[in-house]
Structures are given as structure tokens and as C-alpha cells.
């Protein structure tokens, strides 16, 4: 597996770049308390809207908060959103898909029709509706972003499960007297995870973008949480007034993180799908 990965990274410098990007972002986010010169929430009325300078390397925003510190801390929030939303979607989606695929019958029918309905909604509008209903907060943002992806995982999981369900080893496990839940969790699920893993990486990028979009229309996390989407949203009206740096740097961070997740997802796809090697 490691040899595979090493080979792949050599053949796919772009994926390697993605991994490095994500590693960099994760590292800076983790090291934010050490790297950040100021608290991300330290307001200063006299320092509002300063352009980048040696004192504030990325400038300051409306509240005189140091953007460099906020960008660093924002990495934590955004990675949390990405991973949180994907984790929630993955766990609930896979659970639903697994149950549907494993049980079949009316349970399958019911679960999958519900997923159909979920997917028929335009996803951003669905997220918007849920976020509006729950009110803006980090937790609700994660939930609304997760909800729009549940169906994807449920579908992937069910499709894969239907394939492996009849594999010889599954029959063997059943014949050995394992109870159904054990067959499902121990013998079947591990064999269904490949497409799910690939999807997760791609969805993480989407999650950050969706969250940023929700923030832009005021349904994201609460101010003054240092989240990149909110920061871009706050800075966007300042572009025309010349204060480009407020939205530019967090915008670049979003772009880099999303690119990282996407490139890694691409790479994973190649790595885990033997046909496409």
C-alpha cells in the first residue's frame, strides 16, 4: 500500500501537490496558536482596514483584526467544517445505504425514495433552507452542509453493498454462522469503503465552498468567528472601496484548500481503482 502510494505520487505530481497543500494547511491550522501574532478576535478601532504591512502582513479588516491571525485560525474552523460535514454525511449516509442495501425490501425502497427526494432538491437551496431553519452557528452549518451529501453516500454504499453482498466470502461468513449484523459490519463494510473514501475527499472541498456560500448570504457561522467564508463575505463589499486584501487572502485559502482536497481525491481515485492505473 505504501509502495503504491509512493509510486502514485511520483507518477502524479499534481496529487502530491494536493497532499502537500492539505498538509501545509493542516499544519498551519494546528500551529495557529504559535504562529498567529495576535488573537483572531482582537479588535482594534484604530487599526481598521489597514493594507498589508510589516506589522499586519495580510492587513486588517473592518474591526482592526489581524487578517494573518484570522486566516491561520480560520484554517481550523474550515477544516473542521469540511471534515465534520463529510464525517456526518458519511456516517449517516453510509449507515442508511448499508441498511437499505443489506435489508432490501420495503426498508430499501423507503430509504432510497427518501434519498431521491433529497437529491431532487437543488443542493445549495436545500442547505440554505436547513441553515435558515436552524439559525446560523458552526454546528448548524456543518449539519446543513452534511445533509446535502447524505444521499450521495447512501447511494454509493448501497450500490457497492449489493455487489459484495453476494461475494463468496460473504456467503462463507454467513455459512460460518455469523449473525447478519456481524456479516455486515465485519465482512461487508470494509469492502465497500473505496468509493466512499474517494468521494469524501472530493466532498470535503465542496463542503468548504458551500459553507462559504452560505456565509456570504448570512447563513454561515456567526461573526466574528474566523471562518474563511465569512471573512470573504465580509471583505467582498470592501473590494470596490479598494480594500481587496480582506477577501483576497481568505479567498485564496479556500481555493487552495478546495484544490488540495480535489487533487487528493483525484489521486485517490487513481490509486484505489486498479482499472485506471
Amino acid at each position: 500500500m505504501f509502495a503504491d502510494a509512493a509510486y502514485l505520487l511520483r507518477r502524479h505530481p499534481v496529487s502530491l501537490a494536493g497532499v502537500l497543500l492539505l498538509a501545509l494547511i493542516a499544519a498551519t491550522a494546528l500551529a495557529a496558536p504559535v504562529l498567529a501574532p495576535a488573537s483572531p478576535l482582537a479588535t482594534n478601532p484604530g487599526d481598521a482596514l489597514l493594507p498589508p504591512s510589516p506589522r499586519h502582513v495580510l492587513g486588517t479588516d473592518d474591526f482592526g483584526e489581524d487578517l494573518w491571525s484570522r486566516v491561520l485560525w480560520g484554517g481550523r474552523i474550515d477544516l473542521l467544517i469540511a471534515l465534520g460535514a463529510v464525517a456526518v454525511a458519511l456516517l449517516s449516509g453510509c449507515a442508511l445505504g448499508a441498511v437499505a442495501g443489506f435489508c432490501g425490501g420495503w426498508i430499501d425502497e423507503g430509504v432510497m425514495r427518501t434519498m431521491d427526494v433529497l437529491q431532487a432538491f437543488p443542493s445549495f437551496i436545500l442547505a440554505m433552507g436547513v441553515a435558515a431553519a436552524l439559525g446560523p452557528s458552526l454546528r448548524n452549518l456543518i449539519v446543513s452542509v452534511a445533509l446535502i451529501n447524505v444521499a450521495i453516500y447512501a447511494r454509493l454504499m448501497r450500490a457497492r453493498l449489493l455487489v459484495v453482498k453476494h461475494a463468496p466470502y460473504a456467503a462463507a461468513a454467513r455459512a460460518a454462522g455469523n449473525p447478519p449484523w456481524r456479516v455486515l459490519t465485519v465482512h461487508l463494510l470494509p469492502n465497500c469503503l473505496t468509493p466512499v473514501v474517494v468521494q469524501s475527499s472530493l466532498q470535503s472541498g465542496w463542503a468548504i465552498l458551500t459553507a462559504a456560500g452560505l456565509s456570504f448570504i448570512g447563513l454561515g457561522v456567526r461573526v466574528p468567528t474566523p471562518e474563511w467564508g465569512v471573512m470573504v463575505a465580509m471583505g467582498v463589499p470592501r473590494i470596490t472601496a479598494g480594500a481587496w486584501w480582506i477577501s483576497f487572502f481568505p479567498g485564496m485559502c479556500i481555493a487552495l484548500a478546495v484544490m488540495g482536497f480535489n487533487l487528493v481525491g483525484d489521486g485517490l481515485q487513481d490509486l484505489l481503482d486498479p482499472q485506471r492505473r
Binding site: 431532487a120 432538491f121 437543488p122 456570504f216 470573504v232 479567498g251 485506471r276
Partner: protein, 317 residues
């Protein structure tokens, strides 16, 4: 489906009456309005009434625009449809060749570069790109007209036939308006296409790689057919099926209305409508929108099925 949308709109916090009644309304006035809109009845009665209306093709009346929701949808839908369709066409024209090119040059710097480019297009927050492009292309360079919607402020729209400004003005042989409408489209179409290129290119690439590895491609090459023709004629058509499905997904997604792009370009489309409906607790409008989105989703997938059958004879039988 209708039940779900009904419940979903009702869990929105707040009530439309507070906005309608204004701050000074007394509780009796508020109650009178509730009665007027039938909001005082139990939820299930409201639901039955809503279903009854639906059966007659009546989607109710929007609280915000005070017009029948059906009429609202009919006027907002073509705006989104026109924007989205042009964007999709552009994305296909750019994304599919990019994906194919990338697949053909697999593993080379061309492949890497196109993939990075495509992913970059996807990775930029759309509202951020929109604003930067508006700022540069309109405000600084004057390349495009102001982002003021479908037509400049003082232009009289052509008589509506299809609801597509470009088509309607062509039908009316009003070339000046046609030009105006087309120029208004340039920037929002470009922004939407930017995000749609990446998924199309990605699918085109993977699917093309699959096809290029197929026996029949080798057989075709063994007949001395030039590589270019093999790729663009023989392989492309085989590779189009997954692309078509992705196209449908993206198209359906965009037809739901891109709230952000429509907001920034003052485009009177479905996304804006839905946003206003949700933030204004406009139940009938929100329900109508969701119903519309579902229908669009179904229609698109039927169209895709038909197109797949045309592309691939094996599906026909």
C-alpha cells in the same frame, strides 16, 4: 414530496405575517391576516387545501410578491434557464475537449496542467470570482455592460414568446436588444461555466481513459485511422455517456438557480426567488419553488435517458 416541502417550509423560524403586518399591527390585526391567508387553521387542513389547489394547478399566492406563485415561476424560470443553458453549453465546449485532451496526454504536463486549471475553476468561491470579474471587466476595463440583470435599464424587453431574451429579441428581429441581452449574459455565463467545467472535464477525462483502453479503439487504430479521428470521432461518442449524466447533474444543479450569481448580477432568476421565499418565510413561494425544482430534476433525467439512448444503441433495446 409535497408533504416534505410543506413541512420543511413550516419549520422556518418566524412567520410571514410579521413581515406583512408591519411593526404597529395589533394582535387582532395579525390574527385577521392569519385568517385571510388561512394560516390560522390546523396544519393538516392547510396541507389538504394546498393539495386541492395543486390539483387545480394553483400553487397559491406569494406573500412577498402578491402574485400567484405559478405566474412568478413562469417569469423567473426563463431567466435562470437562459443563463444556465448558455453556461452549460460553454462549459461543455470547454470542459469536454479539456478532459479529452487531458486523457489523451495522460500523465504528461498537459494532463496535470489541465487538471489543475479545471480544479482551480471549481475551487474559487463563485461569489468571489463574480465580484472580482465585475470589478475588473465592468468597472475597470469596461469590457462588459453593467451587471444589472437581463437587459440594460432603459431597454424595452421584446414581446415574451419563449422567455429567453436572446431568442425573443431574435424572433422580434430586434437586433439591438439581442445584442444587449447577449452582452448582459457574457459575465454571469462565464462565471457559472467556470464552476461547471471542472466536473465535466473530470468525467470526460476518466471516461475517455476507459474508452481509449478499450479493445475496439485498438481495433480502429489497427485499421489505420488517424489518431485524431480515433479520439474525436470514435472514442468521444463512447465516452459521452458518463459525461451526459454529469451534465444532467450539473445542469439540474444550476437550474435550481445559483443564488449567489443571481444576486451579484441582479439576475431575476429562481435562485433569488427561492432565497427571498426562504428568508421572507413566503411559504407558497418556497413550496412552489421546491416543486418546480423536483419537476426540473425529473425532466432533465428523462431527457438524459433519451439522449443516452440516442448515443448508445445498446440502451435502446
Amino acid at each position: 414530496m409535497t408533504l416534505l416541502t410543506f413541512v420543511l417550509t413550516r419549520v422556518l423560524p418566524g412567520s410571514p405575517i410579521d413581515e406583512i403586518a408591519g411593526p404597529m399591527a395589533t394582535s387582532q390585526q395579525r390574527q385577521a391576516l392569519m385568517r385571510h391567508y388561512g394560516l390560522d387553521r390546523p396544519l393538516w387542513t392547510q396541507y389538504v387545501a394546498y393539495l386541492g389547489g395543486l390539483a387545480r394547478g394553483d400553487l397559491g399566492t406569494s406573500f412577498v410578491t402578491s402574485r400567484p406563485v405559478a405566474a412568478d415561476l413562469a417569469s423567473f424560470f426563463p431567466a435562470t434557464m437562459e443563463l444556465t443553458t448558455w453556461a452549460m453549453l460553454l462549459a461543455v465546449v470547454v470542459g469536454v475537449p479539456l478532459g479529452v485532451w487531458s486523457a489523451v496526454h495522460r500523465g504528461t504536463w498537459i494532463d496535470h496542467a489541465t487538471r489543475v486549471l479545471a480544479v482551480a475553476g471549481l475551487a474559487l468561491p463563485v461569489f468571489w470570482v463574480s465580484l472580482v470579474l465585475i470589478y475588473l471587466c465592468f468597472y475597470v476595463w469596461h469590457l462588459v455592460p453593467p451587471p444589472i440583470g437581463r437587459l440594460p435599464a432603459l431597454v424595452t424587453p421584446p414581446p415574451p414568446v419563449t422567455g429567453w431574451m436572446v431568442v425573443d429579441s431574435a424572433l422580434a428581429r430586434n437586433w439591438a436588444v439581442l445584442g444587449d441581452a447577449a452582452r448582459q449574459l457574457i459575465l454571469p455565463v462565464a462565471v457559472l461555466a467556470l464552476a461547471a467545467v471542472a466536473p465535466l472535464a473530470r468525467v470526460a477525462r476518466t471516461s475517455m481513459l476507459d474508452v481509449l483502453g478499450a479493445e475496439h479503439i485498438r481495433a480502429t487504430r489497427s485499421l489505420g485511422i488517424p489518431w485524431r479521428r480515433v479520439v474525436w470521432t470514435y472514442a468521444l461518442r463512447n465516452a459521452m455517456l458518463p459525461v451526459l449524466t454529469m451534465l444532467a447533474i450539473v445542469y439540474g444543479y444550476l437550474l435550481g438557480g445559483s443564488v449567489l450569481v443571481e444576486t451579484l448580477f441582479a439576475w431575476p432568476g429562481m435562485g433569488r426567488y427561492a432565497f427571498n421565499a426562504i428568508s421572507g418565510n413566503d411559504y407558497p413561494a418556497a413550496q412552489g419553488f421546491i416543486l418546480y425544482a423536483t419537476v426540473v430534476y425529473l425532466v432533465i433525467f428523462i431527457v438524459v435517458d433519451v439522449c443516452s439512448a440516442i448515443l448508445d444503441p445498446r440502451i435502446r433495446t
